[in-house]
């Protein structure tokens, strides 16, 4: 039976109190110190929910991140955050990283450090090099940009994160399922991931695809030089995937974009079904995408549900 772990990746939504605090500080109605305190309280509350849910790796929820690129962009020379661009097919926007020069991380930004209340073996999230290179504003060849971003920004970030004690490095990759990938771009992607895999040492490197059906790419995906590939099972048909899968599999089974809560029992049975059908050596259970597109209260419920799904699936797979 496969090893089973569960964690919540990506940006988590801020609480109503924190939303109000960030709004107030912009309007001069509160102090930056009060906002810092609201961030701290929110992080602790989010960690408490994950602990209650008995998740295997905890996350600080990236609560300070304005989007998945921003801390890296602001901490790097050669990159600027500029134009607001829609985040795939969502009512949410990111500032596209603009390549002004060859990118280089000038030091691990505070948003990527592990605060004292986040335990070792936590999960860190980064944009995948393919997503980063495609979302960037540039006139350069994007495959070459991908290599530059890996060497100049993502590799030093991964090394810094592993050095700070993070045990799971989760790479978000919605671009590939949503927009597709040219045949010629697989090689640079594989090379970039190999470099990040090497930099991640003993940590688990996960390449998580979501917001689209990846069945047409499954043969290439399962041979990528990473420890696990994540699949959004709301979009991808389990029966269309090859078996045995042959590498770790992140089962994205709680919909990160819907407020309705899935059934714990039904979802655990689905995880069990995935394990039987694809026989991966390891299963990671999580949401299809990060939970940022949900209100915090709903996100907290999804995290608790994730814990239940993990417990029930583990019992069934014993």
């Amino acid at each position: 039976m496969p090893e089973l772990r569960a964690y919540q990746h990506g940006i988590c939504p801020r609480s109503e109190r924190l939303v109000q605090a960030t709004r107030d500080v912009e309007r001069g109605r509160t102090t930056p110190e009060a906002v810092d305190e609201a961030f701290r309280a929110d992080r602790q509350a989010l960690l408490a929910v994950q602990r209650e849910a008995r998740l295997d790796h905890l996350s600080d929820g990236l609560l300070r991140w304005q989007d998945v690129f921003r801390p890296l962009v602001e901490a790097s020379s050669g990159l600027e955050a500029q134009t607001l661009v829609r985040w795939f097919d969502n009512n949410s926007f990111f500032r596209a990283p603009r390549l002004a020069d060859r990118p280089a991380l000038d030091g691990l930004p505070p948003e990527l450090s592990r605060d004292g209340d986040v335990p070792e073996d936590a999960v860190a999230t980064l944009p995948s090099p393919y997503l980063f290179s495609r979302a960037a504003e540039t006139t350069e060849d994007r495959d070459r940009v991908l290599g530059d971003l890996v060497r100049g920004v993502l590799r030093p970030a991964v090394e810094g994160l592993v050095g700070a004690g993070f045990r799971v490095i989760h790479l978000q990759e919605p671009w590939l399922p949503f927009f597709g990938v040219e045949d010629a771009s697989w090689k640079p992607l594989e090379a970039g991931l190999a470099e990040l895999h090497e930099a991640s040492g003993d940590a688990t490197l996960v390449f998580h695809t979501y917001f689209g059906d990846v069945a047409p790419h499954a043969e290439r995906l399962r041979r990528l030089p990473v420890d696990a590939v994540g699949i959004d099972f709301v979009e991808t048909d389990l029966d269309a995937l090859p078996a045995p899968w042959g590498t770790g599999l992140l089962v994205g089974c709680l919909d990160g974009r819907r407020s309705l809560l899935e059934s714990a029992d039904g979802t655990a049975k689905f995880v069990e079904h995935v394990a039987e059908a694809l026989q991966p050596p390891e299963i990671l259970v999580s949401s299809t995408s990060d939970l940022e597109l949900l209100p915090r209260e709903v996100a907290d419920r999804k995290i608790r549900l994730l814990g239940e799904v993990r417990a029930r699936a583990a019992e069934a797979l014993e």
């Binding site: 801020r14 304005q66 990111f94 269309a240 407020s259 309705l260």
Partner: protein, 390 residues
């Protein structure tokens, strides 16, 4: 067609302005500070708002009761109209001063929805998101009161912004039409069921919420209604639903209808919007994607690349070109506005079918910045008119 619609380089605002501190605090029942009163006084003077001292006196009595708070909102509307008239726009509204927010205001007057909480749009900007949980209905027309007030206050022509059906549906969670969460079985079949449910949801919003609200406005004499659809191109595979919802909303109604699209990959709207023949104008945010350098050649104006597609539509709508980036305090110089307009005229032709607008509502800017940006827009239009001999 609304009077003045064909004026070359017609200018108008698009939606919301920031709510002044005095309005926010007074309506929230909070005490006001001297600087809030001074803000009301100085802007009242600057905009020539008749009787603004009455407002200052009213604010001086804060915290206020329910009727006085409603009065403050009405004052805010008067300020909004005068703001846009004073700056020199041809067509105005009130900067949506009486509404909470374009989505929240509609949902607050709809049956069948429940609030779920705040969701980020970008950076520290959030919106309150609801879920549809039952049959959709209009609890009561939700723009009548403001329109009735503005009709008596405005000297310029009015255009009423109304949030569109697709955006209302897209910005809501669905807990009623599609509740299937079973991941076993064919994903294709699940997606087909999801799409059919989505269509029913969107069209129910169009028929049972937006359309009766428009009918009420038209009954009061509204002549130009702008259907705001910032969510219009969110899902590239749903553009047919966006078009169908627009058509369902306005079919057979006697008014001028336009639509506002922003922060999208506008290429996606084609060819779907070829079917939106009742749409008399597309107001499109371009400046956000454009360079700040001067020049009217295509290579100088990367943000306006999609204009030929609007030009080549099989019907002849006007095109509202966004010339102000609403996400930044940068005040576009009149010469930059001029060049953006001249480029649009070069490509689109017919200045009589080109309207000049900000990319979107200016509510994320201070009144001072919004005013300077709009002033610059009007000055840029004058420069362009001179250049074109209009």
């Amino acid at each position: 067609m609304t009077a003045g619609f064909a004026k070359p380089l017609l200018t108008h605002e698009l939606g919301s302005l920031a709510k002044p501190n005095w309005r926010v605090k007074a309506v929230a029942g909070r005490p006001l500070e001297d600087r809030d009163l001074e803000e009301a006084r100085s802007w009242g003077r600057r905009l020539g708002v008749d009787g603004h001292e009455e407002l200052v006196e009213l604010l001086g009595r804060a915290p206020l009761g329910a009727e006085d708070r409603a009065q403050v909102k009405r004052w805010s509307s008067r300020y909004g109209v005068r703001f846009l008239e004073t700056v020199g726009l041809d067509v105005v509204y009130d900067g949506e001063q009486q509404r909470s927010e374009m989505y929240a205001w509609a949902i607050a007057h709809a049956g069948g929805f429940e609030w779920r909480g705040s969701v980020r749009a970008f950076d520290n900007k959030y919106y309150s998101k609801a879920a549809v949980t039952g049959p959709i209905s209009l609890r009561g027309p939700y723009h009548n009161e403001e329109f009735s007030l503005l009709r008596g206050v405005a000297t310029a022509e009015l255009k009423v912004p109304v949030t569109g059906a697709y955006t209302i549906a897209d910005w809501s969670f669905d807990e009623h039409y599609f509740t299937d969460a079973d991941l076993t079985g064919s994903a294709a079949a699940r997606h087909a069921r999801r799409r059919e449910a989505r269509r029913r949801f969107i069209l129910d919003v169009a028929r049972d919420l937006i359309r009766p609200n428009l009918e009420a406005l038209i009954g009061l004499g509204a002549g130009w209604l702008q259907i705001d659809e910032p969510g219009g191109s969110t899902a590239p595979d749903e553009l047919d639903l966006f078009v169908e919802s627009f058509n369902e909303t306005v079919a057979g109604l006697d008014a001028t209808f336009s639509t506002h699209l922003c922060f999208s990959d506008y290429e996606l709207f084609f060819p779907a919007i070829e079917g939106m023949t009742e749409c008399r104008q597309f107001a499109v945010g371009f400046a956000n994607y454009d360079s700040r350098e001067l020049g009217r050649k295509p290579e100088d104006r990367p943000g306006y690349r999609v204009i030929p597609k609007f030009r080549d539509l099989p019907y002849r709508p006007a095109l509202g070109i966004g010339v102000l980036d609403i996400h930044t305090d940068f005040v576009e110089p009149p010469e930059l506005v001029r060049d953006r307009i001249l480029h649009a005229v070069d490509v689109f032709g017919e200045p009589g079918r080109i309207h000049v607008i900000p990319d979107c509502g200016l509510r994320t800017r201070s009144w001072d910045v919004a005013y300077r940006k709009l002033e610059s827009m009007v000055a840029g239009v004058e420069l362009a008119r001179r250049d074109l001999g209009l």
